[in-house]
Subunit: 433 residues, 2 copies
């Protein structure tokens, strides 16, 4: 795929701040910026870091070429434009690994560079982490709610066409099984899957009326017995009968996309079994969110198809992360007015766990201080090097690695932290500075 410059995915004020600061001696001093969320979305117990891999790709394409410079030439002076033309990030970035859990205040990303070098990345960093983490955080709850049943992400049509691709990636990271989105399959290797739409069945309408059986026969003939037939275009009972008539009892699956999914799943299971189609699976879809998924846990549902709620973060479409200057030349700095107070100084983060593996708290402490120790507990640092001198470090975790990491990390939460009910963060965060 052609690579595009990501440099203009940036706020106007980042560049005017550079124009203002660039020649001032203050701008040459080493700065530390941190990304964190002040709070989790209402009632959520944990967040999931996602987007780090995409961010490192976008960083490599953050270059002001002629077209980008022409676009900002109107409001910037020539020296600033030259600075932008020469811009390459040469600083260091550390961060929670992709797929890690986070809590209020967790320093998810730490950027070390001069003021201008670091501030110019603010918007891009936040856009990617805020979006992808919001989706992954919602998706992880759905995966938990589904227990071990597979979920197909099929929400592309309900979000921006490129946000859809990133959503598929974030959902897969969170444990979703497959996506409907073909660009996500190409770009990130997410397995793609699909069933059929009502339009396909409706197409087989002629002067004699609808002909669902003809639609099903055609689909099975062309796509094989393993296909999924959508049985709720007309009457579901008739639809199931037609499905098995068309495919026989070895049909892969049927999908129900409307109505009371729990009742229908039971009826359809009984009907399939009565027709000898014991191995034909039942896919359900239609405005499912984590609560609806959980409510179907006792029903004979084999696969969930989830759309809108997944790609919109199930009520929390952004993670609300901010990018704050916390240290200049070793001096802690923080905004002091009003309620938006921040803690100055670069922060290290560790998670404390019982010997059983269950985590008990997250501790934030000065970057250069020793990691805190708690009697009878283990301490695990949360930050890893991501970029050194502008280049990604070797052996960054893959998307699959991030997926595995999250699965393991969720197991370390106290059991109530995996509940869907509203509550406090699963573990407290202690500020040891």
């Amino acid at each position: 795929m052609t690579r595009r410059s990501t440099a203009l995915l940036t706020d106007h004020y980042e560049l005017t701040m550079i124009a203002a600061a660039r020649t001032h001696p203050a701008a040459a001093r080493p700065c530390v910026f941190e990304v964190f969320a002040r709070r989790l979305p209402d009632g959520r117990r944990y967040g999931v870091v996602a987007g780090t891999g995409r961010l490192l790709d976008a960083l490599a394409d953050f270059r002001f070429g002629d077209e980008e410079l022409a676009a900002v030439g109107e409001f910037l002076d020539g020296e600033t434009l030259q600075w932008l033309a020469d811009y390459r990030f040469t600083g260091d970035i550390d961060g929670y690994r992709e797929g890690e859990l986070y809590f209020p205040g967790s320093p998810i990303l730490t950027v070390r560079a001069s003021f201008a070098d670091a501030v110019v990345l603010e918007t891009l960093i936040l856009s990617i982490l805020n979006h992808d983490s919001a989706i992954a955080s919602a998706a992880a709850r759905m995966v938990t709610a589904a227990a071990s049943r597979p979920i197909i992400e099929m929400g592309s049509r309900r979000t921006h066409e490129y946000a859809a691709v990133a959503s598929s990636r974030a959902a897969y990271l969170a444990g979703v099984t497959a996506t409907s989105n073909l660009e996500a399959a190409r770009s990130y290797g997410v397995p793609s899957a699909g069933t059929a739409a009502h339009a396909f069945t409706l197409l087989f309408t002629d002067e004699n009326g609808p002909n669902e059986l003809a639609a099903f026969r055609t689909q099975v003939e062309r796509l094989g017995l393993g296909t999924t037939l959508l049985v709720d275009t007309y009457d579901i009972t008739r639809g199931v009968a037609n499905a098995i008539e068309a495919a026989g009892p070895e049909l892969g699956a049927v999908r129900i996309d409307s109505g009371d999914l729990g009742i229908l799943a039971r009826q359809v299971r009984e009907q399939l079994d009565s027709l000898g189609a014991h191995r034909t699976k039942i896919v359900v879809s239609g405005d499912l969110d984590e609560y609806a998924i959980a409510s179907l846990r006792a029903e004979p549902v084999d696969i969930y198809g989830v759309g809108t709620s997944l790609v919109t973060g199930s009520g929390a479409p952004t993670a609300g992360m901010v990018y704050k200057l916390v240290e200049i030349d070793g001096i802690p700095v923080a905004k002091r007015s009003s309620h938006k107070e921040s803690h100055g100084g670069a922060k290290a983060a560790a998670r404390i766990a019982r010997r059983s593996g269950t985590v008990t708290e997250e501790v934030l402490y000065p970057w250069d201080a020793p990691a805190p120790a708690v009697d009878g507990h283990t301490t695990t640092g949360l930050q890893t090097p991501l970029v050194r001198g502008g280049d990604p470090v070797d052996a960054l975790p893959s998307l699959h690695g991030a997926r595995d990491h999250l699965r393991d990390a969720l197991i370390t939460l106290p059991w109530e932290g995996l509940g869907l009910s509203h509550g406090e963060p699963a573990i407290p965060t202690r500020h040891a500075f």
Copy 2:
């Protein structure tokens, strides 16, 4: 900017449905698909159509090249791949013009083509219209709430990096004044604007502590008196005093980003006036939505900066539009099971208005029937040709044209339709078929 193929911004099942239907005689018949929203987001009075211009651009880039074909080769047969390689949309598209109001059931877009030609566009069409319309619909309420005060859209960091660009465009269409997003400025000519971040002020901290005055002096020296100084990093009263000390009474504006914005705006206005800075404007920002904007109407606020709530649709991040097959070869078709019923048949749409210009209802009627007439009222058709034989028609309205159209359309609503309170759609929709 390099143009990328949009063909994989598509769901897996669109292509397998094509593989299944392609060689069947049914697939050659002319089909009509319609885009509509079954309902408006909870309590909203109207929706705003947005994204049409972006959709027509994306349609031109909907081509399966070698890379795209390689990505889908695993699950499609050779003939289907050849069909995709040859694919060019050659059908017709009509639609509500961009910037038009819509209501439940409004046939916003009507696509006429063979089944395969039309179904392959479903995901792309819905992604773009659902996202952009959600943002424009929320932004229009904010613009109304702001009365005639300008709004700067600054939410890029709270949404996907490319959704941010589309959000800026949609917000501008809805009457927002400017954007922080530089790619939106380049791609769509949206005016860009910006102030400064707390990090800029914090940067001027040294061993003697913070030095807000030095920060302000530097910003004014480099960016001119017209700049906006962010005065709430430390103490706001001190900040305003420093701002005027640095710039004098001709300073362009100050920004307040936290705290009780109403109270602070009054205090800051008094202070500015007492310092002779009568023309220095006050910009407020910080978690503003349409309700917070409205609540500041009596306060001396000159400009609103709006972020998160705008780019997330203020509680409704997707417009929930669907793409439904409604007619095949002149035969109306519709899904019949459960509660998701649709009205078959291609629909025309008109809005009925009093002679005063106030609209009273929207009427949907058969595509080939005469427009309904209501005594003493005017009837205005809502659909215009967008694509003929695969090519965009000449003289499509520009983004500025869409912006003007929406401004005029909002004036036609009954007065209660512009209220922020929850309620029914501003006008009823009558189904005359």
